[in-house]
Assembly symmetry: C2
Homo-oligomer: 213 residues x 2
DNA sequence: CTGTGATCGTGACGGGCCGTCATCAGGGCC
DNA sequence: GGCCCTGATGACGGCCCGTCACGATCACAG
């Protein structure tokens, strides 16, 4: 009665999906990433070991090294992942913006919302005051910085704003956003709008006072 | 013919100095600190091991642990040391200041000069792009932050400046100083005055635009 | 369907660094 | 000079690391 012999079972719409080798590869890579996020959140970054991470996946210890060189590299990969997800958001703000204030407000609000969600999804359980390492400038994070730099340049030029030392200015903007963002996360309730308003006004007020190079 | 029997040799002016035990203790502690500064500078923080540090002092490995619990603790001690030396400088600026701009300019110039000297004395030789860890908020560093916080409060009140969210504001000031300071160190020649001018104007311009809580 | 080669998953292994501890030299004190 | 006690010493066990030879499984050709 079965029609199996005539119509071998196949995912009809996924006929051309990659082979099993390729699928387990991406699955393993993702499993390691997920496990690492959990472990870092529970044990703290410093205390976590490669084996803590790999144990949670059920894979063998050696398998870890087929995907990443060290726990630092997994951490970077997680950071990269975050940056990769944030980049299009930032780009959209940049393209939508009609003036500097609009861009800045949009970008910072987007960043703070993003930060809040990341914070909650990591469920960080700092072991007695351990400071989580600030993400190192991985390629993707560097790309975000560069994008901020470029967007600032574009929007400022469009506004016919006076020339400023863009390197310093971008660094200062990122610094304010980072640090006010961190402080924001420590308060209850978390007030992204208030924090964003603060950061935006600070930068916006500072800009016209800057020295012209 | 010798008079030793009658006048035992002694440091005449240092009769009451601490005993040998105490002296070797502070000497060892200092030796470890010095060695650590060198090793961190040469190998980079991550690659350095406790044994790299202790080897350079000629002491035995176990001796290290009579003074510090880990390389992290030595690093913190070095950071603490820096903060301890900077604090009186900051305090002097705070007491000398007559208005907010004066205080800010004095403090930031002082910080940037301090930063430059520290940078040169550490002789940092980053191993292929390794990022030196940002100093964690050790007690002494926290004290510096608190002092900045207090000084801002004092000077702003004296100036009858509008009330602001001091936590955010202090965080933002420190962030700008830190990040612009870092960028400053990457340029040749190192221009502390230019960087300080930038940071001061940025903050000074931002202040009046801030939301009133 | 079967044979073959390539691709990983596996976990045991050697090595390095860690932090401890029993031991002992020597400074403090009577 | 003799006794006590602090602190230097380096050998040691343990943990985690990164590797590697092996074997299972997949891809693919015939």
């Amino acid at each position: 009665m079965s029609n199996i012999a005539f119509f071998p079972v196949r995912e009809p719409s996924e006929d051309n999906r990659p082979g099993k080798r390729e699928r387990t590869k991406v699955a393993n890579r993702q499993a390691i990433l997920d496990a690492a996020r959990e472990v870092f959140g529970e044990l703290g970054y410093e205390a976590s070991t490669v084996r803590d991470i790999i144990r949670r996946t059920g894979l063998a210890s050696g398998t870890f090294y087929n995907y990443y060189k060290s726990k630092e590299e997994v951490f970077d990969a997680l950071a990269d992942d975050g940056a990769r997800r944030f980049r299009p958001i930032l780009r959209a703000e940049s393209e939508r913006a009609v003036d500097f204030e609009g861009f800045l407000r949009g970008a910072i609000r987007a960043y703070f919302h993003f930060l809040r969600e990341e914070h909650e999804s990591w469920r960080i359980n700092r072991p007695a005051g351990e400071v989580f390492p600030h993400a190192r400038p991985t390629p993707e994070i560097q790309a975000v910085f560069d994008e901020v730099h470029a967007a600032l340049a574009k929007v400022l030029e469009h506004d016919h704003a006076p020339a400023v030392d863009l390197d310093y200015f971008a660094a200062a903007c990122i610094a304010v956003a980072r640090e006010v963002g961190d402080k924001m996360l420590e308060r209850r309730p978390i007030d992204t709008e208030g924090a964003a308003d603060f950061a935006v006004r600070m930068i916006l007020g500072g800009l016209p006072a800057l020295p012209r190079p």
